[in-house]
């Protein structure tokens, strides 16, 4: 379990999540019908905020630095990078993150958009679980080779 995480690492994970979602037909099907933009306001330990905008639609999957006005985003989330990591690998559920105050939803999404965001997180979580399981069963993998 990781104890710390930088904004750059969290952003790299978000990009990895978007790349992994490319292979998921259910998400492709949803993207054919809609889009999603999430403004992440990452909190640094010194209290400063680093905004990143994640945009997903049929022809675009990107996470870019910079902010937009709240009106232009479907969802606005303020959080520490580590919380996002823990959400995407399943250590923390969305509700727990909110209830414990680690995830601050500053602009509430419509329910279908929230489901769309969860869909990206869920499929990434499963993708990572499956990749780990494959690595453990592949002969000669690190897990097998360990004494």
């Amino acid at each position: 379990m990781r104890e710390t995480m930088t904004v750059a690492e969290a952003v790299a994970e978000l990009r990895d999540m978007l790349a992994a979602s490319g292979g998921n037909p259910t998400i492709a099907d949803r993207l054919a019908r809609g889009s999603l933009s999430v403004l992440y306001e990452f909190e640094n330990p010194d209290g400063t905020i680093e905004p990143y905008l994640m945009r997903v639609r049929r022809d675009l999957r990107e996470v870019a630095p910079g902010a937009v006005s709240y009106d232009e985003a479907d969802i606005v989330i303020r959080t520490e990078p580590l919380t996002l990591h823990r959400l995407s690998n399943g250590e923390l559920g969305g509700r727990e993150a909110i209830v414990s105050g680690r995830l601050d939803i500053r602009k509430a999404p419509s329910m279908p958009k929230l489901l769309f965001m969860r869909s990206l997180f869920n499929s990434y979580k499963k993708h990572r679980l499956r990749t780990e399981a494959d690595a453990q069963t592949t002969p000669g993998s690190a897990a097998e080779a360990a004494p």
């Binding site: 995830l103 969860r118 869909s119």
Partner: protein
């Protein structure tokens, strides 16, 4: 950080006022096939219905839910794990972003099955237990070995990091040992206990004393909550109390100082007070018909023909949103109609009980020691067995 919490509270408040475009939660009887024979089964589960939605039909319903904003789906049955495509449906549902839970009886649930559910992204598993005692549980549920299966399922699920709930139906059979089960669940690391009053619907219905059984069953349920409050308090566990409604109640088994307290169940609907009909949930039947609640057998639409958004505007659901009618399952049990106020919600139980004729001429038997009730037909396995013998219409 306050506004995240505010959002969640707003969402719950909007749901409670019935202003969401679609129900937040759907309880979906994906099959009526079952490997157990619980005498009280509200779904009257035995074997698969011929018109059960197939995989494609079920996925189309899930698509509609995701497009409409239905956040939580609980697959139940019958026994949902008897459906071969259940893993595919769980996987599809979580791919759509839906918080997906599943209820099982735990019989023949090998660890690999739970692993497959985890692989599919399942977020919570509920396991039904009626007693810590194998003889009682297995008799109530009709198959030997079912308690062992249920316990094994819970243990493996916890080991795999899956959120778990234990679901207990309060009957004359389960009542005496519920405190033991409560302590057991805490010790095992179960996150939530769901206590259900026994509803006289489905296989539970049809006895000579359904109305009496409902009234006494309701009292048993309310008194169980009180008993658990006394046990929970010193352990730092809050057991919500109910006074008039007697609706299935979730009890968070984590102490309030736990950092994830109140995070266990989907969004805590079962912890919210008041009837959930028209506000928090619908129940889907195997063929896509929609009922207002698993225990209210009144059809409000069909997902084969309509979107859940349209069904959510059904007259019965609108009426339930506009009026505080009590429990609509009890409206049906006591009046035969779902669209009238539940009489047990507005009248004292003692008064209603006094008006009900005692069956036959025999004087009421005395309450059994430590059990504050007279045995009533419908509230125990023994009474159901007696029914099967005396009633020629029952098989």
């Amino acid at each position: 950080m306050q506004s995240g919490m505010t959002w969640l509270k707003d969402y719950m408040a909007t749901a409670k006022s019935g202003e969401l475009a679609a129900p937040p939660s759907a309880w979906w009887i994906v099959t009526r096939a079952c490997n157990l024979k619980c005498y009280y089964c509200f779904a009257d589960a035995r074997k698969r219905d011929p018109d059960e939605l197939d995989t494609a039909g079920a996925k189309a319903v899930l698509d509609d839910f995701a497009d409409s904003g239905v956040m939580f789906v609980t697959f139940l049955g019958g026994e949902p794990l008897t459906r071969k495509d259940i893993y595919e449906l769980v996987d599809y549902s979580t791919d759509l972003g839906i918080y997906t839970a599943l209820l099982t009886n735990g019989l023949n649930v090998r660890p690999e099955k739970i692993d497959k559910l985890v692989d599919g992204g399942l977020e919570m598993i509920g396991v039904s237990i009626d007693s810590k005692d194998d003889a009682v549980h297995d008799a109530v549920r009709g198959v030997a070995g079912s308690l062992a299966g249920a316990k094994g399922t819970i243990r493996h699920a916890i080991q795999r990091g899956l959120r778990t709930s234990v679901r207990i139906v309060v009957s004359e059979d389960s009542y005496p040992a519920i405190p033991d089960l409560f302590r057991w669940a805490i010790d095992e690391g179960v996150e939530e206990l769901i206590l259900l009053p026994i509803f006289m619907v489905g296989r539970a219905a049809g006895g000579a004393e359904d109305r009496r059984a409902d009234l006494v069953g309701k009292q048993l349920f309310l008194s169980t909550l009180e008993r658990l409050r006394d046990i929970g308090e010193p352990l730092g566990i809050t057991v919500p109390q109910q006074t008039r409604l007697a609706c299935p109640q979730g009890i968070e088994l984590r102490a309030p100082d736990h950092e994830l307290h109140h995070a266990g169940h989907a969004v805590g609907f079962e912890q919210s007070a008041g009837c959930k009909v028209g506000r928090f949930m619908v129940s889907v039947q195997p063929n896509g018909d929609v009922f207002s609640c698993p225990f209210v057998h009144a059809k409000v639409g069909s997902l084969r023909e309509q979107s859940i958004v349209d069904i959510w505007q059904a007259p019965l659901l609108r009426k339930a949103r506009a009026e505080d009618m009590g429990c609509l399952a009890r409206s049906i049990i006591h009046t035969g109609r779902a669209d009238v106020t539940d009489p047990t919600y507005v009248r004292p139980a003692a008064e209603m009980l006094a008006e009900l004729p005692l069956p036959g001429t025999a004087p009421a038997p005395a309450p059994v020691a430590e059990q504050p009730f007279f045995p009533v037909d419908g509230l125990s396995l023994a009474s159901h067995r007696a029914r099967a013998v005396t009633s020629p219409t029952r098989s």
